[in-house]
Amino acid sequence: MAIEILIPVIIVGLTIALAWPLSRWMKWAMDVDHPGPLRRGYEDTMRGLLGRLAHAAQGWRAYSVSLLVFNAVMFGFTYGVLWLQPRLPLNPDGKGPLEPSLAYNTIASFTSNTNLQHYSGEVAMSYFSQLFALVWLQFVSAAVGIAALTALCRGLAGRREIGNFFTDLHRATFLVLLPLALLLAVILILLGMPMTFEGAAVARTLEVAVQTISRGPVAAMVAIKQLGTNGGGFFGPNSTHPFENPGFWTNVAENLAILLIPMASIWMFGRIVGRLKHAAVIFSVMFALYAVFVTSAMILESEPTAAFRDLPVAADMNLEGKELRFGPTAGSLWAVSTTVTSNGSVDAMHDSLNPLTGLFPLMGMWLNVIFGGVGVGFINMFLFIVVAVFIAGMMVGRTPEYLTKKVEAGEMKLALIALLAHPLFILGGTALFASTSWGLSTILNTGSHGLSEILYEFSSAAANNGSGFEGLGDNTLPWNVATGTVMLLARYIPILAPLAIAGSLAAKRPTPETAGSLRTDGLMFGVILLATVALVGALLFMPVAVLGPVAEHLSLEVR
């Protein structure tokens, strides 16, 4: 058992250790102070290629509009690729066109960095679609998150011009994501992951049956899938598939890659605003929540499944739905890591988790601030910080301040709009689908577990996570349109509102810090922030948690 505990500790410890130097690299890549000749050459080349797009410094409004225009264009382009799939090259297995609502859902999903998949890649997608629609979006959607975070940091550092969106986008893509993805892809290939453009292999088994074995450019997709907190797999079973996660060491490498950039993003924020102690407090709050989630999930999953209780079967933990090549506790660690970071890849069946264990992936997506998605994890936490400083300011009777800028009604309104959109999408969507045939005809379980299946799908879409609880026939017109729409709105509203807040704060004169100011680099701020996240999360989601996983747990205990 000791080794089962030691492995998660080593994975997480190694990730924390690597996140620190990576944050230095990310700061250099995204917001360099003194570029050397090589870097100046790169910037001049990109300015030459992008022309007027990359020249002007932008305020928050122009930056936001550029971000939306880019994403809308990407949506249209990649939708066209899926629409025209049968006529495009790199289709050795002759994949046909996608059904329109599935194409809409898929492109909304990959544009929004969600990667919720209502299809199986090996069945539905040509290599061209995988590489030039989906992998392309996996790169640029993650880059959009890093760009937005960099812009927010510049605004919080008091700069009225928060950069140029297209400049930040190419820096995030070519200087951060591409080198890391290349390195990881090479490691994964060396560890046995396929990377080929040949069509499916046909094998004859010992029983003389013919077996078709799908393969393709898997390593390229898996590297950016994990590093960019995308999560969308090449194969339907995602990282439980032996070609997408061939063994113990690929599992370690992929788990590390899930957490790496989200952790480094917090330190990058500290470096850009020049407040590393403040970043350390935020990192500690996130890590405290993460540690509680992982520990709780591992303890709860060490109980055997209730279905085995009255059977003459020896079971000392819940092994249902686990990939035992990686060890029985690996599934719990991955389930938490993938849901708190909005990654969404899976190496165990979440539908088979014990009911209370399943609550932790759900809570990770509800809070959506525990390291979170690439770039956007800190942006989401920033909304809670605004609420926390406002509450703290009200408690001591002072005008709330954050990083020497007064937080007033305008900023609070924007923060609350973005914060409340998230539960509205989850709870509103769940209520609608749990009370109509759109949802009821698609669940494979009744009662509280069936509610959890619907709840998980909307939580995954709204948190831009993309993991599936499964047990749900989700490739239907209502599911495709509803979750596609939720993914798009839930992606951009929490990016646009914080950029507006940063723009508003940047325009204000700094107020000198006094003895009465709330220090943001101390234990007190950490406790206030932690309490705000926990209380707001509990108030919003406790009722539905009781109706879903908690009710299921209690019903199994009574039985």
Partner: protein, 38 residues
């Protein structure tokens, strides 16, 4: 035909998001005006 409907839905969502940016802009401008008055 259904492809066009799906693209129309996506267009409507992005239009809504552009309107959201405009609404945020008005809110920020309003709070800047209040700041200057005070």
């Amino acid at each position: 035909m259904l492809h066009l409907v799906m693209l129309a839905i996506a267009t409507a969502i992005f239009a809504l998001l552009f309107a959201f940016v405009a609404a945020c802009d008005r809110l920020v401008a309003q709070s800047e005006e209040e700041l200057e008055e005070s």
